[in-house]
Amino acid sequence: MTAVIPTPVTVSTDKQDKAIAKARTRSLAPKPKKRIVLSLVLLFFAVLWMLPLLGLLVTSFRSRVDATSSGWWTAIADPFGQQWTTQNFVDSFIKLDIGTNFFNSIAVAVPATILPIMFAAFAAYAFTFMDFKGKEVYFATVIGLLVVPLQVALVPILQAYVQLQKALGIQIVGTFPAAWIVHSAFALPLAIYILRNYMATLPVALIEAARVDGASHFVIFWRLIVPMSVPALASFAIFQFLWVWNDYLVAFIFLGNRNPVLQQALYALLGQYGQGWQGVAAGSFITIIVPVILFFSLQRYFVRGLTAGSVK
């Protein structure tokens, strides 16, 4: 981060003296009354943020009759005048075809997480610890590509896949590798950027010592740099897994109906809200569960990784 010198605050000297006295009497923590005001403002946002989710959660346990005849808030006001049910989850489980789609989502997300990390780690190592011609230009290109919208690539890649399919006679569109490669390629710029920023903080002396001892770059990479970069690797892994798990567009175009993932199933289910929101609500919750659990159990690494990338 570029060090920014704070703007000096100019005040006259007699004011300054008073202020010093005031600052000395005041502790750093805000006054209790102010804490309450701040808490109330935060509470307002917290409620605003949770209300839509709460509505969905409550609705997912309501019977169809209840869900179509009254708002979910009435169920909270009068919890015993309601018919609660878990049937919606059972129905949605079947409608979403969890047995297949859940595993499809995993089969897409796991390699689409590991592959770009592996590729990016190698590249980040080269960008950090090796010297070669055009290094700066390559890296500037990577930075520039960070913001290229995914849509740019969809038509040409789809066309290329179809041509390859005709030439080789094997199915490509609709298979998992078709989606992995697209996800991986589009994750690369960010992954390289984050990992390089992290690796740049590792002690160069250690790498040089290993070089002197005769270790090859490949060995240094595997034995030293990868283990030392685990925090950054883990945080990017969480980020990428969530991104792929929650993706609709790439799955929609490259997997289609052949190997639909959960998000596609949920989208199809969304079209059925005419039969009451309880089914859609339960379905949404089923698809949210995995990312939310993952997110909160690994939150610490996730935050650390994000901040390693953009806050230095």
């Binding site: 981060m1 570029t2 920014v4 704070p6 605050v9 005040v11 202020a19 010093i20 600052a23 808490s39 935060l42 946002f45 839509p52 989710l53 969905l56 179509t68 009254s70 708002g71 979910w72 089969a107 390699p111 592959l115 592996m118 590729f119 190698f122 080269a126 960008f127 010297d131 070669f132 520039g144 590509l145 290229v148 919208p149 849509q151 740019v152 690539a153 969809l154 040409p156 998992f176 590798p177 992995w180 390629a185 589009f186 690369l188 090859s216 770059h217 969530l242 929650n246 609709y248 567009l249 929101w277 609500a281 949210i288 993952l294 997110f295 939150q299 935050v303 901040t307 953009s310 806050v311």
Partner: protein, 326 residues
Amino acid sequence: MQILSALVSVVGGLAVSFLIYLGLNFVVQKTNRKWEARLLPYVFIGPVLVLIAAFLVYPAVRTFYLSFFNATGLAFIGFDNYTSLFGSGDFLNVLLNNLLWILIVPASAVAIGLLVAVFADKVGPTREKIFKSTIFLPMAISFVAAATIWRFVYTYNPPGQPQVGLLNAIVTGVTNGDPVPWLTVDTAKLNSILLMIVVIWLNAGFAMVLLSAAIKGVPEETIEASRIDGANERQTFFQVIVPQISTTIVAVFITILIGVMKIFDIVYAMTGGAYGTSVLGMEFINQLFSFGNPGKAAAVVTVLMVAVIPVIYYQVRSYRRQETLR
């Protein structure tokens, strides 16, 4: 069976990719020392360069090229796709929508994120954790699921029927008026704004986390010094803290901006781009699938790409500046 074949392709795919590196490294090590030093960097970045060239650079160029061709991709038609796009009121409306998204969403998400980050910093660790987790939670939710959640909030039933959507229940309850089919009301871009709220809801947590980390990184002495100099809370915040976290603010703003420029899923799952809510990302899918016109879809994306160029320029420039300071 499906699971087994998925497993095989997962393991196979990972193994093949790793073997590429191992194989390349092996070959390079067989050469003499001079060549090894020269070639080895390309073993490390080679596969990435190939992937980026094949899946990012080539498609971008190809998309640009395709935008000058007709629906079949066979006949060169010059700027016809562009003139037809810019000649239609619908497309100009799409551009206006995109502009509004860019103006409203990143700024709002950053403002809310900053506010929560600053306030949460002062209410004690327990409350801080609870409030921050609450705002953070939507980050884990997919666009499609978020669209579901908010469509339920905005849902409409004809007057006389019970309103199960929160917004209509509030409106009918408070004003005693008729329920409003929110997502179809284009007046003053109301429905687009309702869609933007969903994305603000999703992104505020992201902004908050990064800004919170940045605020905690501000040296305590600088804050203390400004207090001693007699600055009040507001002055301290705007003149001492904000300048020190400005790079993070810009980074967060740009990240959200980029996400918003290519926004698609939310619009797709909430209105499908109808009722004047379409954006470039949505228009692309419409041209490609609904109208079966890859040429025009490519033209839409090219417009998007041109819009992104200033951001690319900014990114590369600020990276260069950082490097010289390193």
